[in-house]
């Protein structure tokens, strides 16, 4: 009898403590949960992107789609979750390329004045590299920016102090301060879309398929075949950030 009573008291105690803890933690549980995506299991995915420079035509569709989809300010300078650069490289001087990206290529590029001047010209779409060892995540004093279990670097705008240390720490210039919220902003890899089985806005809008969302944990994803059959590179590999934006046909002059 005593044994039963002890068990009961112990179980009741555990129940009270645990439900108390759960109710206290409930807000945090809700806040930390991704947007409703009932069938999405974060640990089943590891996201990255393939960017095929050979295919990019510099139309700026991706930039416009990103701004529209993610409500990125268009009237303020310096607010880009993605942008496209145009490189003009003199074959004998790869260290001094001429680079431009007017308004991040929101309206594409103006024609080059002197065609046939012997320059090598190509476009390089840029976005957050969703580094596996993100220098931006490392420096955040409050952990407002973090790597999700599925390999996406995100910012919690309700926690961000706006100290801008992460902007300094990103070697690729992918972060900015949202002038409306005074917090750090960056590419989320359209997390609200990819967790529902959709691709990103930029990938969807790309007319040539130069950008492709890649799930490196999905054995059926064509990324594996692509990585096996192409010579790919990441930006600034010497910084060992674990960048997951894989570029095909990346020229050595690209910074």
């Amino acid at each position: 009898m005593d044994q039963h009573r002890r068990d009961f008291l112990s179980q009741a105690g555990q129940f009270i403590v645990l439900t108390g803890a759960a109710s206290l933690a409930w807000d945090a549980v809700l806040a930390g949960a991704p947007q409703e995506a009932p069938n999405y299991v974060t640990t089943d995915h590891w996201w990255g992107m393939i960017i095929d420079i050979e295919k990019c035509i510099g139309c700026g569709n991706c930039v416009r789609a990103c701004k529209a989809e993610n409500d990125v300010p268009t009237d303020e300078p310096g607010c880009y979750r993605t942008w496209v650069e145009r490189y003009q490289v003199r074959p004998d001087d790869p260290d001094h390329p001429i680079v431009d990206s007017p308004d991040g290529a929101y309206d594409g590029f103006p024609a080059i004045d002197q065609p046939g001047d012997g320059l090598k010209v190509f476009f390089v779409p840029k976005l957050c590299n969703h580094c596996a060892h993100s220098p931006c995540v490392q420096v955040c004093p409050v952990g407002a920016t973090f790597e999700s279990p599925d390999g996406v670097v995100l910012v919690d705008k309700d926690r961000c102090l706006g100290c801008r240390y992460c902007v300094q720490a990103c070697p690729y210039g992918c972060r900015f301060i949202d002038p409306r919220t005074h917090t750090a902003d960056k590419c989320t890899l359209c997390y609200h879309r990819i967790t529902k089985g959709l691709t990103t806005a930029c990938c969807e809008a790309c007319p040539t398929g130069a950008r492709q969302l890649a799930d490196l944990k999905n054995p059926d994803d064509p990324v594996h075949e692509f990585l096996r059959t192409h010579k790919v590179h990441v930006l600034k590999p010497e910084l060992a950030t674990g960048a997951k934006a894989y570029y095909n046909g990346l020229d050595g002059s690209v910074r």
Binding site: P77, G78, C79, Y80, W83, E85, D95, P97, I98, V99, D100, S101, D103, G104, K126, P135, Q138, V139, C140, P141, V142, G143, R159, C160, L161, G162, C163, R164, Y165, V167, Q168, A169, C170, P171, Y172, G173, C174, R175, F176, I177, T181, H182, T183, L239, R255
Partner: protein, 389 residues
């Protein structure tokens, strides 16, 4: 785009860290330097600098109180800054700085000042009435024991705190250097020498500041300056400056000789946009001239009045030079694109949240605090007593 040369990433049009972030290492540097000067008397028994011992502690406290304000003013969400203490990200240099700061303020500086002043506070309380009596009672935490034994204990504890305090001061400012030195994305900042250079420049600026404040206050109080004290401080300033300058040159020579891919961008920057603030103000006017002036006093025997003038000029130039050094690190580190293909310009506004006006006010604030501290905790009596002993 106006002010932009070459190609910068589209998100780099705005400079992230303003003049307020220049003040932050400048002010913490003054704190660390002033404390280290104070420690000389206490730990190494350098009797000559005794007249500045308490003044140095109060100076350190006045500046330390102001140190977080420029950061606070700069934040996009200052109301969330306390989160750094509640939910710190342990890998972040900036988050850990909050704890180093708090440790230094509460466990080192305030405690050391309290133990050092306890006897004076008790005596002042006993000699006063009304509100003043209550205030000093509160400052003593209502401990009234100034027996020989209690004072010996104070002295012993004070000494232990100072011994703990020296590495803490090193940590405080070395850490500020680490905040910059550990950013691998930025080759202008990213060097393991950064904390060491910051530390020595901190010592230099702190010594110069305390020396100038001592001279200024002696003037105001119309009391003669202790020349032995000034000579000793000036010689410390000279030697600390030599080490600091050597370290900075080592960094520069290393960069020039290694000549990695960032050098082209940095070299261009130093020769153009940073030429005045780096070559002219920091290196020539703010370093070589004061070193030459101080060196001269080591070689030639000048009269008291001349030496005072030399010390005052050298001290002032030193403070300008170290400020320029902080400027060149913080602002200079943001003038080139991380693409190494272009440069931008820093536009300093005046009466905005991060403009020149708040920066000037923030630099004046420690002096206002010091004026109050000197009233409440007069740093003179004990030193005069020492001088008489």
């Amino acid at each position: 785009m106006p002010g932009v040369e070459g190609y910068i990433y589209p998100n780099e049009v705005e400079l992230q860290w303003s003049i307020l972030i220049v003040l932050y290492p400048y002010i913490t540097g003054l704190v660390a330097g002033a404390f280290i000067l104070a420690s000389l008397e206490r730990v190494f028994n350098v009797v000559a600098v005794r007249p500045t011992y308490r003044l140095a502690l109060l100076t350190a406290l006045a500046f330390l109180i102001v140190a977080p304000l420029p950061l606070q003013l700069h934040l996009g969400h200052p109301e969330r800054s306390f989160e750094m203490y509640l939910t710190p990200h342990r890998e972040s240099a900036m988050a850990m700085f909050g704890f180093v700061y708090l440790w230094y303020l509460m466990a080192v500086l305030v405690l050391e000042i309290w133990f050092d002043y306890r006897k004076d506070l008790v005596l002042t309380r006993r000699a006063s009435t009304g509100l003043k009596r209550w205030v000093y009672g509160a400052l003593t935490l209502w401990s009234d024991d100034i027996s020989e034994e209690a004072l010996r204990a104070d002295e012993r504890i004070g000494r232990i705190i100072t011994i703990v305090g020296i590495p803490s001061a090193f940590l405080l400012h070395g850490y500020v250097g680490f905040i910059f030195g550990s950013v691998k994305a930025n080759p202008w900042w990213s060097t393991p020498l950064m904390p060491v250079v910051f530390l020595f420049s901190a010592i230099v600026s702190g010594i110069a500041a305390v020396m100038l404040i001592y001279m200024g206050l002696s003037r105001l109080r119309k009391v003669p300056m202790d020349m032995r004290c000034l000579d000793t401080i000036a010689s410390y300033l000279f030697y600390a400056f030599l080490i600091d300058f050597s370290l900075e040159m080592l960094d520069l020579i290393h960069r020039l000789y290694e000549a990695d891919e960032s050098l082209q961008a940095l070299d261009f920057m130093v020769k153009t946009r940073l030429f005045v603030s780096q070559i002219v103000v920091q290196i020539l006017v703010g370093t070589l001239v004061p070193i030459a002036l101080l060196g001269l006093t080591q070689l030639v025997r000048f009269g008291d009045a001349t030496r005072r003038w030399i010390y005052a000029s050298a001290g002032l130039l030193t403070l300008i030079g170290i400020f320029a050094m902080r400027w060149n690190v913080v602002i200079g580190g943001q003038l080139f694109s991380k693409s190494f293909l272009g440069y931008t310009t820093y536009k300093l506004a005046f009466a905005t949240r991060e403009g020149l006006l708040p920066a000037i006010l923030l630099m004046l604030l420690p002096f206002a605090i010091l004026a109050v501290l000197v009233r409440v905790l007069p740093p003179w009596e004990k030193t005069d007593a020492h001088a008489g002993a």
